[in-house]
Amino acid sequence: MAFTSYDFLLFFLIVLVLYWGVRERRWQNLILLAASYYFYGSVQVWYAVMLGASTTADFFLARGMAAYPDRKRLVMGLSLIVNLGVLAFFKYFDFFSGSVASFLNTLGFSADELLLKIVLPAGLSFFTLKKLGYMIDVSRGTLKPTHTFVDFALYVSYFPQIVAGPIERPQKLLPQIEAPRTWQAEFFYKAWPLLVMGFFKKLVIANSVQVLVNRVFSFSDPSGFLLLSGALGYTLQILADFSAYTDLSRAVSFLLGFNTSENFHQPYLSLTPTDFWNRWHISLSTWLRDYVFFPVRRMALRYKLNENLAMSIPPLVTMFISGLWHGAGLNFVIWGLYYGVLITAYQLAGIRGDWKPSSKLKLFFAWLLMFSFIVFGWMIFRAPSMTWLLHILLNSPFIPTHNEFILGLITMTMALAYSLPLLLKHLIDQYTNESWAQAAFYAIAAALIVVYINSASSDFIYFQF
């Protein structure tokens, strides 16, 4: 049930009326929990069953950690095995399903049908990180486990976030779940601009650009120029698509009385790779920073590795895991490592995340260089396979044929044209606040949503992770 579908609209209206109708916090949480399981289970009932089972396990494991502090490590290890085991099984199942099926078939079992039906449950990567964050914080003693199962289950399954995040930290969402909530007009005033921008970015920008981008990345042997134009288009598409999901998720949360995290902060204005990851998919970056980067760095310091190694290993490990988290494909792993190498290289060159050159010319070139790195990164990420990408980069000519040149030109024009509204909004937001210009922008965006609305709109890209 996508946020942009009619089914979701009906579902949400019913939930909203019931939710604010009951007024009492416990009932509100129960309604949200039931709604979340319905939302998640509406795709496949067994998704909800699996979510329920793993949530129950983690709830009691966390309680166990609090009750038996001397067995903390054992319990935490168990939780890690269960959560990462389930994640790894589904995430990397495709890699092994072929061989498993043929093995079972040789034993006389007809395994194909069963194995083909096992697909990655949407959102598994997101709620697994949510639960792991909770468990690690409880084991570290920085978070007291909640006593209420419904509250914890709601934190994990909260429907506006379950499919594609943000990966909300327990310290932010749980206290809100545990606090009483009454309807305030303020919730609506915070929600509507996000709703407009979410629908606008998804329906107008991302869905329009994806048509040509998909075409370019489906050619068997495009020229370098055509590949570049497709990568530029994808750079816009993935930002518009993913940030639209976050906007809609936050808007829905505001309407339910929750203030959830932002996930993007003008990532394409970054000057360094570290800066980029501080602005892109912020909830994932901060999760990886706290639970992977810092522990690895502490370990590197503890083992007194030489300075360069101590500086290189943590970002490489962190970004490698980030790549793995996105999927089992080799391109995701290489994309992650690519950022690990970039972060390391910048740091070894003495350029920190908050670096900002003094002159405007340097600033421009620093931005241009980083933007080029980002576009190349998305090229790796979007490529159908690494073999395909390497073949084009190494063997295909950059200079296109006339027809390819025209297609590439149109793809670039489209990317530019559809990025203009985002640029315009950035400028309006920077220089005015709640002005007529801003109101006019939102009104035109709302009218354009009607023009671009399509009942057959595609899913959000990040659903697949």
Binding site: Y6, S218, L407, A417
Partner: protein
């Protein structure tokens, strides 16, 4: 709150302006019937060909028919004259319109119409009627096609869409407006490099027509397009049958004394499973009850993987084999008759 009021005021002005300008620009009156407007012309190329050739058997289908059946060979093997109306990208909505406007409207009536279909396509009235498919379907539709509009569009709309179609000019004009925006974007840069609109259209046509697609992308694209046919809704025969064009096609065939034969061709997009088998059993039983004949080659082991060029189309060798299988099946049917 003041900001929301500013937004609402400007949006209201835009909507009023759009409601005043768009109906004039696109010649529409409101409230209007939901669904797309059809043009007045009906293409008569097939009707004229039927009048001229007087075929005993007419084949209806899409590219799977064109790449799966050799018409001349089928005619030779069955001893009957055969005429194919296989249109790439067509589906049940267009087959219904062709049966109604081209076959039934001709003064000469064929003995048999063979509909070559795959899996659930016969009961998917909303399949291949939107976007560029609409232009194709519209070519064979008359000005007034209430059954087509109802089954392919209105039945699939939610109440909000129906209300917007009736009363909201901006919503109804959205395809034209979007085309206009896309046209501006598409033709903006190429002229700067000496390529005008015709040159741009030619370049795009050439590159997409002769596109050498990455094999996995091609499989994914076909799979994504075909996935609609295997959703739980589409596999629910009892829910779909009255919403589909099948009852209308059967009625038209009966009224014109034409024998309908439905031929299920094999595809490799979907592994046969319990749901699909149950659907096919219900479909076969329904067609038999309504005096239509069925030849089911959907699971035929003779059409093995090496006879396919991609997941839904047979190769040249597959075409020879399938034509032979089909001819044998038809000869048995005709002999039994």
């Amino acid at each position: 709150m003041r900001f929301f009021l500013k937004f609402s005021l400007i949006l209201t002005i835009i909507m009023i302006a759009a409601s005043a300008i768009l109906p004039r620009r696109y010649e529409m009156t409101y409230p209007r019937d939901p669904g797309p407007a059809l043009d007045r012309q009906v293409r008569t190329n097939y009707l004229e060909a039927i009048e001229e050739k007087h075929p005993q058997i007419i084949l209806l289908g899409d590219s799977t028919l064109n790449l799966g059946v050799d018409v001349d060979s089928l005619a030779q093997q069955t001893g009957k004259s055969v005429y194919s109306m296989g249109i790439p990208g067509s589906a049940s909505a267009l087959w219904y319109l062709l049966l109604k406007n081209s076959i039934a409207d001709a003064s000469y009536k064929p003995e048999t119409v063979l509909v070559v279909f795959r899996d659930t396509i016969l009961t998917a009235p909303g399949y291949r009627v939107h976007g560029s498919y609409f232009d194709l379907v519209d070519e064979y539709a008359g000005r007034n096609e209430p059954v087509f509009i109802q089954k392919s569009f209105v039945n699939l709309m939610n109440p909000l869409e129906i209300a917007a179609e009736k009363y909201f000019p901006l919503y109804v004009s959205r395809a034209d407006l979007r085309n206009s925006i896309d046209t501006h974007v598409r033709y903006f840069a190429p002229p700067l490099f000496g390529c005008d609109e015709d040159c741009t259209d030619y370049a795009l046509g050439e590159i997409f027509a002769g596109a050498d697609l990455e094999p996995k992308a091609l499989v994914d694209a076909v799979g994504a397009a075909e996935a609609y046919l295997y959703t739980p809704d589409q596999l629910n025969f009892d829910a779909q049958i009255e919403r589909s064009f099948l009852p209308d096609m059967i009625r038209i065939a009966d009224e014109n004394n034409i024998q309908l034969i439905f031929v299920r061709i094999k595809v490799e997009t979907h592994e046969p499973d319990a749901e699909l088998n149950a659907y096919i059993a219900s479909l076969t039983s329904y067609l038999n009850e309504n005096h239509a004949l069925v030849l089911d080659y959907g699971n035929d082991p003779r059409l093995s993987h090496e006879f396919f060029r991609d997941s839904i189309h047979l190769s040249d060798e597959g075409k020879v084999l399938f034509t032979q299988i089909l001819a044998n099946g038809l000869n048995e049917l005709f002999a039994g008759k």
